[in-house]
């Protein structure tokens, strides 16, 4: 069985976005909360958080968790306000 068009696209995406130095999923987890707060506040991404942004491009699982975190934060903010 060969790869689907969508899978080939995903492969091209990750190869294009790969960097020589990257952080791993555990480092991402410890800082993704800060990244989510900055993003949801609409502030620019500071240099120190660029590695998180790049990791989220490469890692579909961390990206999925980041999206779920933003959803939870939005939902709780609505409840509080």
């Amino acid at each position: 069985m060969s790869m689907t068009g969508e899978e080939i696209q995903r492969l091209l995406d990750v190869v294009r976005d790969t960097q020589a130095v990257e952080i791993d999923c555990d480092v991402c987890l410890m800082q993704v909360g800060e990244f989510a707060e900055v993003r949801l506040a609409g502030k620019p991404i500071a240099e120190g958080l660029k590695a998180i942004e790049q990791h989220l491009l490469i890692c579909p699982e961390c990206r999925e968790e980041f999206e779920a975190l933003c959803q939870a934060m939005n939902s709780i903010e609505k409840t509080e306000s």
Binding site: M1, S2, M3, G5, E7, I8, R10, L11, L12, V14, V15, R16, T18, Q19, A20, E22, D24, C25, D26, L29, M30, Q31, V32, G33, E34, A36, E37, I58, C59, P60, E61, E64, E65, A68, L69, Q71, A72, M73, S75, I76, T79
Partner: protein, 201 residues
């Protein structure tokens, strides 16, 4: 009603003993319960009776990791990110636990001929062919396996488990494969401009 606390108070309360700690744990559990319900409700693989286990495992993990909290976000945001990691890792494990990595890889190949598409722009076709050639000739069997399993969407925890390594060791293996692939493509003339042209096709 959950009592509002600043970051320092959360940490001090969770590190305390007795009723102060119990009260903080109960409040954190309530916050995480609302967060997980909100973030998981649209998933077809989530059912409500999983929530208690997720919360229990999350609280254990958060308490163990308290010294890693760097005070760079709200404490509850950090704790929620850990709870989401715990819950989603478990959901992915359940989804992929009966899938054999060996079989998944054996059933798939990196065959450029099989992807032939007359409508594809030549730049894109050339890039895909070169990429497959590098994958087949320059990567190790293990690197090829990891790359393919990840592209197929297999859970990292499951790939790591079947390969007998940690999730972080798997990430390093995956990074080595992607970086080698990119380096080899650059070496044979596919730079960022080639990627841009191929993507637009």
């Amino acid at each position: 009603m959950v009592r509002d606390r600043d970051n320092d108070e959360w940490i001090k309360s969770l590190e305390a003993k007795g009723p102060i700690r119990e009260s903080a744990l109960a409040d954190l559990r309530e916050i995480l319960s609302a967060s997980l319900k909100s973030s998981l409700k649209s998933r077809s693989d989530y059912v409500d009776n999983m929530l208690d286990d997720f919360l229990q495992d999350s609280l254990i993990r958060i308490l163990k990791a308290l010294d890693q909290f760097q005070n760079r976000s709200r404490f509850v945001t950090w704790a929620t990110s850990i709870a989401i990691r715990v819950a989603m890792t478990e959901l992915r494990k359940r989804r992929w636990r009966d899938v054999s990595l060996e079989k998944l890889v054996a059933d798939t190949n990196f065959d450029p001929v099989a992807e032939a598409d007359d409508n594809m722009v030549p730049e894109r076709r050339q890039l895909i062919e070169a990429m497959y050639r590098v994958i087949n000739t320059q990567l190790t069997d293990k690197q090829r396996t990891v790359l393919l399993a990840e592209i197929k969407g297999m859970a990292q925890e499951e790939i790591a488990g079947q390969l007998g390594c940690s999730r972080n060791a798997l990430y390093k293996l995956s990074h080595d494969a992607r970086f080698r692939l990119k380096q080899e493509l650059v070496k044979i003339g596919f730079d960022s401009q080639s990627f841009a042209v191929a993507f637009n096709g």
